[in-house]
Amino acid sequence: MEPNDQPEKPVISTKVDAFFLSVYDIFRFISRFFREVLRPPFEVQEFIRQCFMVGYKSLALISLTGFITGLVFTKQSRPSLAEFGATSWLPSLISIAVIRALAPLVTALICAGKVGSSIGAELASMKVTEQIDAMEVSAINPFKYLVVTRILACTVCLPLLMSYTALVGMMGSYLDIHLNEQTSITAFFAKAFANISFLDLFSSFFKSVCFGFTIGVVSCYQGFNASQGTTGVGKAANVAVVISMFLIFIEEIVIVQIINSIR
């Protein structure tokens, strides 16, 4: 039964074949996630630890970025509104911008950078130093312990972080409005939320869930399938961030289209 020496012929071309194979591989990865996430035993402790890591890694950066985004957006919008004497509309304009678009996107991009790269690098280095194989041979399911917990943590934490970003962004905006128009905080928030519908909140939450899932899946996939050697680690981290960000923008476009057609 000597295997023959002919290299296999590609169906279309080597590159196109490889692309479709990797798409197929990612779908298998995702379906394995859904199969294993529902099957006990659940790795609760590791899941909580990962949630903490996701929050802890990105909280400082998100606080700063969220606050500045709100502040700067308010500052930049004021002159245009002032031309029509409509600066009193600022709170509702800002809240729509922040809650509908900025908070989910800013949170997702920052997490893709911070969390995606660290998951990618961590799993890849475990892969190349054979720690994942070591789990496998001591009858531990590494997919369940490492991948499922991380994907879940990203999916759960992103909406929470997004809510936090939105709040901090509104605070930034309030600071600027308070300094210029002396609006009180209750009046500011009353105006800000007057134009926010349930659909807005729901769509932002939904987007964040999708973004979190994407970051988790992409970075775990890259780490878990890293090629041998230490260059594989850097590559996995890098590719995890780039692909996550790319997919986040694509999803943003698609989800906004869908929500707008419902509205």
């Binding site: 000597e2 720690q131 001591s138 009858a139």
Partner: protein, 258 residues
């Protein structure tokens, strides 16, 4: 070329491999491997870098799937096993990785407790602690229990790796280059440890190495791999008495005539 065809006694054989083939793309790594490991025996696998020694033991542990051939471990056909059965079987196989493969986010103690916690959730912390003390004592590193893997030397890491596999009480040990990259004194210590494990824990082992001292002190039998096949099997003297093969001659000269 001498061929070694032992009579198979199924009560006695723990691993039996026949006609094993494995390729990665056009790289044909294993080309017809036959091997029997008997109960309580240490087999040393010798061969140059890249001949597929690691691939062979990864197939035995079910980490890689063979292209053709049978791999029978403790009466079970490894490539045909489902996830749950493979998990059962793996508890009986201890796999020592080339560089220890310790979980570097955990301390030594946590590294040892981890497989126990996952595989026997009912075990109490006290029982775990006792087992950890036993295996750490067996590898002579009790004082490192609270250290991180990054703080250990290469030899210590390998010994902790051995301890971590021993803690599940395996029947078969697979050592991937246990002495590579270590100084001669540490090598001797590891060789003694392998022999002690064989006696104390009653294991059968496959030991992969380039090091003939290790082969001579730990191996009951030597198997020499070349171009994806075993070209010779037998005890140390038999294998090296006939140096008509270039690989065997060079191996011997390199290790013993300097």
């Amino acid at each position: 070329m001498k061929t070694f065809t032992p009579e198979i006694d199924w009560d006695d054989v723990v691993i039996s491999i026949r006609g094993l083939f494995k390729s990665f793309g056009s790289n044909h790594v294993l080309r017809g491997v036959d091997l029997d490991l008997h109960k309580g025996e240490n087999i040393v696998v010798l061969g140059r870098s890249g001949t597929g020694k690691s691939v062979l033991i990864k197939i035995i542990a079910g980490l890689l799937k063979p292209d053709a051939g049978t791999v029978n471990v403790l009466g079970q056909e490894v490539p045909a096993l489902g996830t749950a059965e493979l998990r059962e079987l793996r508890l009986k196989i201890g796999f020592c990785f080339q560089n220890g493969a310790l979980y570097d986010s955990m301390t030594v103690g946590e590294n040892l407790a981890f497989p126990l916690k996952r595989n026997d959730p009912k075990m109490t912390a006290d029982q775990r602690r006792r087992l950890i003390d036993i295996v750490l004592d067996a590898v002579g590193l009790s004082q490192t229990i609270n250290q991180m893997p990054a703080e250990l030397s290469g030899g210590q890491r390998k010994r902790i790796g051995i301890a971590r596999t021993l803690i599940l009480r395996p029947e078969i040990m697979l050592y991937d280059e246990p002495t590579a990259g270590l100084d001669p004194i540490t090598c001797t210590e590891i060789n003694d440890l392998i022999n002690e494990v064989q006696k104390r824990f009653k294991t059968s082992s496959i030991i992969i190495t380039h090091d003939l001292t290790c082969a001579r002190t730990t191996g009951d039998k030597i198997a020499v791999m070349k171009e994806g096949k075993f070209i010779r099997k037998g005890d140390f003297e038999t294998v090296f008495s006939d140096n008509s093969d270039e690989l065997i001659r060079e191996f011997y000269d390199y290790n013993f005539t300097q």
